[in-house]
Symmetry: C2
Subunit: 348 residues, 2 copies
């Protein structure tokens, strides 16, 4: 953070909006009006369906500013939302950002937050078209709404899986949770003795997974290039097991997930051991992975199997078969959603 | 509020989402998927432009729960956003709602809030297609994003006013501010002596203006029926003067506003006197009126002049003439924006 501190009330709301407006470069030719009027105006692409999603990150619940850089937080807030758009097999196009913050935050802090938001927009070719900045009595809240577009025959819901379909997940799972455990551990150490500097060397990957995740836009493109349209899809925000259960419930099916197929980063496995946490549980219930979990027809197996970004982890069964994890020793155990729930995990 | 108290963590986030989902009846045939997937999916109306706006209400900054019923608050949160859509001369179609709240709120309170949101949707023929419910460490925050549609030749910006255009405002202004003063006064009285019951009889109109405002959808329809397309438009949320200044600045013009033309409800004038507040200042700077302020060509004067919902309050001038209030005694005084700014009016 810069050493200068400018109080927000030196600028006022309009001053702040103008400051943000000046930093925004619009890229889409479909935008007729971005920030600066009562509403943004854009032209929907002819023949496309629109998708729309919203998600809010709240201080003390979704993030801890003692170890979260504001620029990363802005970036992540956008990712969390784009992930939902990609989970519809859609292309993200526009976002609005609503930020509430107390007077503990100077203008420089809000600048950093927007730097992250705008970097995310640039990297993912999405335009910030509007928003709202307002004060709060305490804490920071970031609400993003994302709008995307998709061809009708490509849009993918949670309820489209069929019996026999393969269950596929992108990337790996569990690392974000391990990253969070590391940060929490170092925070405790630092609280106990503030002369001890955090020891996080060599943990870049797991830390990036929790602090600056990437939404899987590339997977939507990959699927299109491979000419695979998933039969169902969801993003992995609350934990793989919880999301698989959503697909099963919405599609009225059961599932077998194979423990030995779960894609877990080797360092995550090792670090989980240090924490005395079973890697399988973390992979299934860790949450915040922002990977895509989807089903494809068996006939798409050849297209999917060799791809380094994709792992077939199970297959869809009749509802009566239940939702199960098949463990390494071949036993079947019911899948439980111990995924992250903002209300059940509350600290206060 | 009901006497039962159900804790949120008895339901969890998914339980709460399902509870809300069950209460929603979708009305638009354009909606393919509402609440219940990663994102909502809808078909844009062929040939229309889309408009999108977002606004957040924060406890302690935008509302005080000691005198704001939660149902009214939910209703108002929607109105604040629809008002922005109507200010583009557009039709509001879809909203998402993001609610953050601490564990001081039981399920019954959240039900009341959604009752208000859904009543607003019903009254204004808008569909709730998605959202997010999450916990916060303290307080209640409601973020709404609204999407609307409009014909390209009807969309109205802040920057389209021309010299000589007439400045018109719908309804009346200043009453919401007086309603707020009354509520704050009764709150102080009650704090000093909790045996004294609030004395708010006969103040229905001003109280409704602050607690349960209506967005002016009817004005958008009226203008269409009269075949008047405003040259510029903005909604009056921060105060008439502040909004007039926005139109001037964006349109690069000046303005003369006539004090004797300002539409102020008679009871508001009387109550302002009781508070020793000048009615003109309140009308210009009170804020939260959610009326529409717009400019029309002089040739539309005959269509506008006799309408009881519309008042011509001034006309647009060259930029060099400045932005002025012409007082009752014929003197010209510079217009100042003392409108409501969340950052400058902060209590803490």
């Amino acid at each position: 953070m810069s050493t200068n501190r400018t109080e927000i009330n030196q600028l006022g709301e309009f001053g702040l909006i103008n400051r943000i407006r000046e930093q925004v470069t619009l890229t889409s030719e479909n935008i007729i009006k971005g920030i600066g009027d009562d509403a943004a105006v854009f032209t929907p692409t002819t023949g496309k369906k629109m998708v729309m999603s919203t998600d809010t990150l709240t201080e003390g619940v979704h993030f801890d500013l003692t170890y979260t850089p504001l620029k990363h937080l802005g970036y992540k807030a956008v990712m969390v939302n784009l992930s939902d758009i990609y989970a519809m097999n859609a292309e993200a196009r526009y976002i609005t950002a609503s930020i509430s913050f107390s007077n503990r935050f100077p203008v420089e802090a809000i600048d950093e937050l927007y730097e992250g938001i705008l970097l995310a927009c640039k990297m993912y070719k999405v335009d910030l078209v509007g928003g709202d900045t307002t004060s709060s009595l305490s804490g920071l809240t970031i609400g993003i709404t994302a709008v995307g577009e998709v061809d009708e025959n490509k849009v993918t819901y949670r309820n489209g899986a069929k019996e026999g379909d393969l269950l596929v997940v992108s990337g790996d799972v569990g690392s974000a949770y391990i990253g969070l455990q590391l940060l929490e551990r170092e925070k405790s150490v630092f609280k106990a003795n503030d002369k001890i500097q955090p020891d996080l060397e060599g943990f870049d990957y797991v830390l990036e997974r929790i602090l600056k995740p990437e939404a899987r836009k590339d997977i939507v493109k990959l699927l299109a290039d491979m000419e695979v349209t998933p039969t169902s899809m969801i993003d992995v925000s609350d934990g793989l097991a919880s999301e698989a259960i959503h697909i099963c419930q919405e599609s009225k099916l059961g599932v077998d997930i194979y423990e030995d197929k779960l894609p877990i980063d080797p360092k995550t496995v090792l670090t989980a051991q240090d924490f005395n946490l079973p890697a399988t549980t973390i992979a299934l219930s860790g949450g915040e992975d922002y990977e895509l979990l989807f089903t494809v027809k068996q006939s798409d197996y050849e297209k999917v199997k060799g791809n380094p970004h994709l792992t077939v982890i199970g297959h869809m069964k009749d509802k009566g078969a239940g939702m199960n994890l098949v463990t390494r020793d071949g036993k079947s155990t019911p899948l439980t959603a111990q995924g992250w729930d903002a209300f059940l995990n509350k600290e206060d």
